[in-house]
Amino acid sequence: MGNKQTIFTDEQLDAYQVRRRLHSRYHELAPHLVPMDYTNEPDCKLPLALIVDMPELKENPFRNRIVESFSEDGMGNLSFNEFVDMFSVLSEMAPRELKAIYAFKIYDFNVDNYLCKEDLEKTLNRLTKEELTPEEVELVCEKTIEEADLDGDNKLSYADFENMISRAPDFLSTFHIRI
């Protein structure tokens, strides 16, 4: 390859190594479905059930939401490009704004672009594996909305969420999956 081309375009070099590795991971999820050759850009999507079976996602309580947020149809069927999208956003190199955007989508269970109380309750239940009593859950949700809601509409819009995230430096290190 190095003999034929002297200039490497960005498209080719864009994390070439990582892309190759991701492709092999994608392929091993469903070897009979995923072609090895991607030059023709085949339209192949893997269902949610296969993707959340990956060891990196298997035990994560938010695995369904993560995969759904990156799928185009909202049902969790990922094409290879969306698969790469997912792991690139969850990697170390992704900028904070991008991570905040997708974190917001992941926690937005009813997909209405607001983190309302129900979303927060679901988030909490998954975080704590239902160890908190319903009263405690209620209290935490209220306090969270109170702390983070800036414009007083009792839900967290993206701006509220981003503002809160910007004050938490740990977000970058915790919202990260190694692959």
Binding site: D10, N113, E147, A148, S157, M164, R167
Partner: protein
């Protein structure tokens, strides 16, 4: 911040615009009410006016549940009912849809935040063309609530025609920016990689794209070439690059089980390994290899090699490349083969000059590397404000996505729920006013703990000093070792001091842990900081005492005109300290962790494994690195020893962790701790070592019996002599040297850059202060506008319902 400023300006304008359009809807009577100046809530007597509306509002809504203590909540509980209605009037819907929260900057980087997320029911039928499926993704449509979509044709954000135009808008926006700025913005946008590639193709010219590199700061030819070479390396899987990703799979396994905190220790270890590798490469290339090719004459008496020399550094090793004394002070002639002929051309290579410049330049390079990594890490963890939202932060930022093993995930859930419960109890019960008696008690306990710690530090430092200085003790130990280990192992007594130092380093943190357990700190982070501080104090005092002792010993040797090589002596001491530290760490890992686990499982019958103490282990790493930096001047191969030690340490700690330890239940703020550790590595550790080395080079007279500087008054002088020699022969160098004498050697000129730096720092702190004030004001503004919005919408809705009573509910 400017971005935020323009945001709020738009809000005001939009609000006022839509409010006026809304006026035309309701009847004339209502316009009287609208004339009230409602834009600035602070002036508006909410309480009075709200009262007149509350009686009209539908009180059947039972959704007001707020139990918060803020008065605003009680005021808004009734209007909130109207905000939650489902059949808004057309005017209200228009107002709502044009709210900034729904139309936030179509093309600002935060704006495209709301990518299309439609439920399957709302998806348009799949068209055959690929394009029309792609383009909706670039739109802003997700901000429209489902109920709004059905109302009127104001789906101005939904639909492929508008999506196309928004995409073109984005491309033209990106073209306006500089290439690197535009790339950075594009990276932060939530579009798929395919879309980003298309947009990048359209926005940036091919030449700019080809030369662009994420790491490119300037566009000159050299950096383009370097970036291209780097790309070539990564493309072909060059071994160096794969080495930089050393231990990646192990790190992944560790983070999967123990989380980000423990991972940060191992990443820190890897960073230190790379720094040592850099140091070793430089000294090896320029110092060790030339000297190895031309070995100087050695004393044949010391040629016997028994294993003990590896530990003590004396005997055979003292006449090896390891220590300063081996290096000659001559100019060796190196053979340089000319390209075309067989005649070898002799190149003079002056060892003393090489020695001096290698050490100084490598220190300089490491200084730059450390400061750069510190600033990068600081940038990640810097917050303009301390976070006040502890609970919200815990809910959203505490889940560590790296953890993948089921028991660790269970542990993590337990950890989070415990923390949440603790915080809730703190909130509900409030700050308990401890009685003066309790406070006094707490103070006494703190004082006692600090007294114990400081006393133990003082005693250990004193013990080390006494041990090194007391002649009778040394003689007694020497006699003891000679008696028990035989005459061949006569140098074993030298190990005694190092062993004692390492012993203190191991025992005293245990005492500190006990004291910390006794005290009750308000927050776990305070506890961690206090423990780090105590450990740091211990290590600084021990190293300080040792340095002082060495200085005294050096002065003594020089006074007595002994031809003994003090440099070798100090180098050997440092070597022994490093080795003993390693041996004791190995022993502690086996005894401390492994046997403790067996003990607690078999005898205490508890299934609780010990927890990996991150702070203590990191400080051990920093201590070892300080010793290396102190010793590299006098023992150039010491970085190699440190590299070997770090390698073994990694695998040992990893296996010990997997076998013996469990994940911690206490929260660990990884980003801030990493910043702290890099700062500690830079400031007390590197700075102290650099100061010591500079002092040695500048002030202390090298011994006349050994080493490359045996015939000069100070090591620094050899550099000066070289400069004198070069001044006449080379033009460029003479300029450099002249510049050096004018600028760096001249104290007046040093004040100027220092003054400028201080000014720049002051300027930046003022800017940050100003930004803080602006943020506060903007937050207040957002709050006020939220209140405005609520009020106006309830007004609108109320008036609409008043006029059309049949359409309400």
């Amino acid at each position: 911040m400017a971005h935020g400023g323009s945001f709020t300006v738009n809000v005001c304008e939009k609000d006022s615009d839509d409010e006026r359009t809304g006026e035309s809807g309701p009847s004339q009577k209502s316009s009287l009410l609208f004339k009230e100046p409602a834009f600035n809530v602070q002036e508006y007597p909410e309480a009075i006016q709200m009262g007149t509306f509350i009686e009209h509002l539908d009180s059947s809504d039972s959704e007001s549940t707020s139990s918060s203590e803020r008065s605003k909540e009680s005021l808004n509980s009734k209007p909130r009912c109207s905000l939650q209605r489902n059949n808004w009037s057309a005017a209200t819907k228009r107002v709502l849809s044009s709210m900034p929260s729904r139309t936030t900057g179509l093309h600002s980087s935060a704006g495209i935040a709301m990518k299309a997320r439609r439920t399957p029911a709302e998806l348009p039928p799949r068209t055959p063309s690929h394009d029309s499926l792609h383009t909706p993704r670039v739109t802003q449509e997700g901000t429209i609530r489902p109920d709004l979509e059905e109302v009127d044709g104001t789906k101005y954000l939904v639909g492929s025609r508008c999506a196309e135009s928004s995409k073109e808008q984005l491309v033209s926006d990106l073209r306006d920016l500089s290439v690197s700025e535009g790339m950075r913005k594009l990276r932060a946008m939530p579009l798929s990689l395919v879309d980003k590639r298309e947009i990048r193709k359209c926005s940036f010219s091919p030449a700019a794209r080809n030369s662009l590199n994420r790491n490119l700061f300037c566009n000159n030819l050299l950096s383009t070439y370097i970036s291209r070479m780097w790309r070539h390396c990564t493309f072909t899987g060059h071994p160096i690059v794969s080495f930089l990703k050393l231990w990646n799979s192990s790190l992944k396994k560790l983070s999967g089980r123990y989380g980000t905190g423990v991972l940060s220790y191992f990443l820190f270890l890897r960073t230190i390994l790379f720094i040592n590798l850099l140091l070793f490469t430089i000294t090896c290339l320029f110092l060790v290899i030339p000297q190895a090719i031309h070995p100087p004459p050695t004393d044949s008496r010391l040629n016997s090699f028994t294993g003990i020399e590896l530990l003590t550094g004396t005997g055979y090793l003292s006449q090896s490349l390891m220590f300063y004394g081996y290096y000659s002070n001559v100019t060796i002639e190196m053979n340089q083969l000319a390209a075309h002929s067989a005649v070898t051309h002799m190149v003079p290579y002056c060892i003393p000059t090489a020695y001096f410049f290698t050490i100084t330049i490598s220190f300089f390079i490491i200084c730059i590397v450390l400061v750069y990594s510190m600033s990068k890490s600081f940038g990640k963890s810097f917050q303009v404000f301390k976070s006040t939202g502890d609970l919200s932060e815990k809910v959203f930022c505490s889940w560590d996505f790296k953890v993948i093993k089921r028991p660790s995930i269970r542990l993590q859930s337990e950890k989070i729920s415990t923390q949440l419960k603790e915080q809730l109890s703190e909130l509900t019960s409030g700050e308990e006013e401890s009685s003066p008696m309790q406070r006094c008690c707490n103070l006494v306990i703190h004082a006692v703990a600090w007294l114990i710690c400081l006393a133990s530090i003082f005693l250990s430092a004193g013990g080390v000093y006494f041990l090194s200085n007391s002649r009778s003790l040394v003689v007694a130990i020497e006699a003891y070792t000679k008696q028990h280990f035989g005459p061949h192992h006569k140098n074993l007594h030298l190990l005694f001091t190092s062993a004692v130092v390492s012993g203190f380093n191991l025992l005293l943190p245990g005492i500190f842990n006990l004291c910390a357990w006794m005290e009750k700190h308000k927050s776990p982070s305070t506890r961690v900081y206090v423990s780090i501080f105590r450990n740091l104090l211990l290590k600084i005092s021990i190293i300080g005492v040792l340095c002082y002792h060495w200085l005294g010993k050096i002065a003594e040797i020089q006074d007595h005109q002994a031809s003994e090589c003090w440099e070798n002596f100090v180098g050997q001491e440092l070597y022994r300290l490093l080795l003993m530290d390693f041996i004791f760490t190995v022993l502690y890992t086996f005894l401390g962790e492994f046997i403790w686990r067996l003990f607690s499982q078999i005898i205490l019958k508890k299934n609780r494994k010990p927890v990996f103490d991150i702070a203590r282990n990191v400080l051990e790493l920093i201590y070892g690195q300080t010793l290396t930096w102190l010793g590299v001047l006098l023992a150039p191969l010491l970085p190699a020893v440190q590299i070997a030690k770090l390698f073994v340490l990694f695998y040992m700690k990893k296996s010990s962790l997997m076998l013996n330890c469990q994940a911690s239940k206490k929260p660990w703020r990884a980003t801030q701790m990493t910043t702290l550790f890099i700062t500690l590595l830079c400031f007390p550790s590197f700075l102290g070592a650099a100061v010591a080395v500079v002092y040695t080079v500048w002030m202390i007279k090298p011994s006349s019996g050994c080493g490359p500087f045996r015939n000069v008054a100070s090591m620094f002088e050899s550099g000066k002599l070289w400069a004198e020699r070069m001044k006449d022969s080379q033009q460029i160098l003479s300029w450099l040297i002249r510049a050096y004498y004018t600028f760096i050697d001249n104290p007046l000129f040093l004040f100027l850059p220092t003054g400028i730096f201080l000014l720049v720092i002051y300027f930046h702190t003022q800017v940050v202060d100003g930004q803080r004030k602006i943020i506060r004001r903007l937050e207040k503004q957002i709050e006020n506008e939220g209140k405005d919005k609520k009020f106006l919408i309830t007004q609108l809705q109320y008036l609409y319902e008043e006029n059309n009573p049949d359409s309400s509910h």
